[in-house]
Symmetry: C2
Subunit: 246 residues, 2 copies
């Protein structure tokens, strides 16, 4: 297991804490290497931990539709943020399920210990409040995006965000999984992906999509990631580098 002190800089929320706050949290942080599909929190269960994705790891919030279909991904959190009890401060059943999407290291802290630290440090509390606001902004924008934008736009946005998050043009994901995330039918995603491939924007293999023409994709996608990034910049003064936001 990696020492948590090695990882703490790989999460941007933790990495930008003032030294006292960072030390305050460091002794409670536990590092865990997680695989795609691992559960971070389960809908209905009380939130126990806050998870900080490090490096290229990320986790997604998923909300089930009542019709029994696949849950839709309503937000994806990478090294710019944290998952679990951020807004509620715990003590509350989780509304959405959160599971790991991109594998890697996460730092985990018990919600009570994070709470204690926030009681001790007003700066920490404010910093996490600012992040909460960004998280909500992300949800607001995604909601509007889902109401307004075509699947092609959302798909292109998602591909760009994902690739930007990992820093590589390769995305390991079946079209079926992609369809589930977007909340649409598999065959239609195949068609959208096929059209993008025909235009030379991407290449595809079994369980894999490779971005070939980032600019071309950007023309086809909506601006939702960008406006969210602007809000992050405004609120967290540039915590974001070139990291994709879904």
């Amino acid at each position: 297991m990696a020492a948590s002190s090695d990882l703490i800089g790989d999460n941007l929320l933790l990495g930008r804490l003032v030294p006292e706050d960072r030390q305050r949290l460091a002794r409670h942080l536990v590092a865990r290497q997680m695989q795609p599909g691992d559960t971070l929190q389960k809908s209905g269960d009380d939130v126990q931990h806050t998870w900080f994705p490090c490096g290229a790891a990320c986790g997604g919030f998923r909300v089930a539709a009542e019709d029994g279909g696949n849950p839709v991904e309503v937000a994806c959190i990478g090294r710019e943020g944290a998952i679990g009890g951020i807004v509620s401060n715990g003590r509350v059943p989780a509304y959405a399920t959160a599971e790991v999407r991109a594998p890697g290291w996460f730092l985990m802290i018990r919600i009570e210990q994070l709470e204690d630290a926030k009681m001790e440090s007003l700066a920490l509390r404010h910093w996490l409040s600012r992040y909460s606001d960004c998280l909500v902004a992300q949800l607001l924008q995604n909601s509007a995006c889902n109401a307004r934008h075509t699947i092609t736009q959302r798909c292109a946005r998602w591909l760009l965000a994902e690739s930007s998050r990992t820093g590589a043009p390769d995305i390991a994901m079946t079209q079926e999984q992609l369809a589930a995330i977007l909340g649409v039918g598999r065959t239609f995603v195949t068609r959208v992906v096929g059209a993008m491939r025909a235009e030379g924007l991407i290449a595809t293999q079994r369980g894999r999509i490779v971005l070939r023409d980032t600019e071309g994709l950007q023309k086809r996608c909506c601006d939702c990631s960008e406006v969210i990034a602007q809000h992050y910049d405004a609120v967290m003064s540039g915590i974001y580098g070139p990291v994709g936001k879904t």
Copy 2:
């Protein structure tokens, strides 16, 4: 102007505060009667006030799409909640625009005064945290709803929630406004509404929709309002009576 002490019980968040916290806030609350379209917060401006809708008043968060079309309503807050700085605690530019939808009285407090009160009272802070969690749940569910459900379902849901909020079967709203809220084309809303009227579910007049068959509408709408209400019940122990949530 109504005295704020007369109104404080008409907002469920304030009404259920313990007496000390209620008094703590009461002296800073200002009552304002607001009209549809009045601005509560403007996207990009720093959040100055928290607004508590009273009675049947409500306000909606709206997010603009980059295409210059009408902003979509991503959440609607009535007497069960509050608008402005709830998650962020202020000090941050508002992401969404919020404007009054149903007219009526609102209680308003400066964000710094609410902050001071939260510094003094841990119970108040926790209570508002719990509400924040519910607000986020609402956003998560709406996001999934927008991704998955048909316009007919969302329209039926919206009509039921609105009517339930005001307690009357009449909804004063043009089809154009309704279309803008749902983020879809006006002519299609006319068709959806026309189909509902043909089935005897609603009656329509110029700028007005009247619910005739609530049960029939419920069959046509998704469960999103209901699952949100369940989360409110679980988290805020039944703050909700039969109040619609959008």
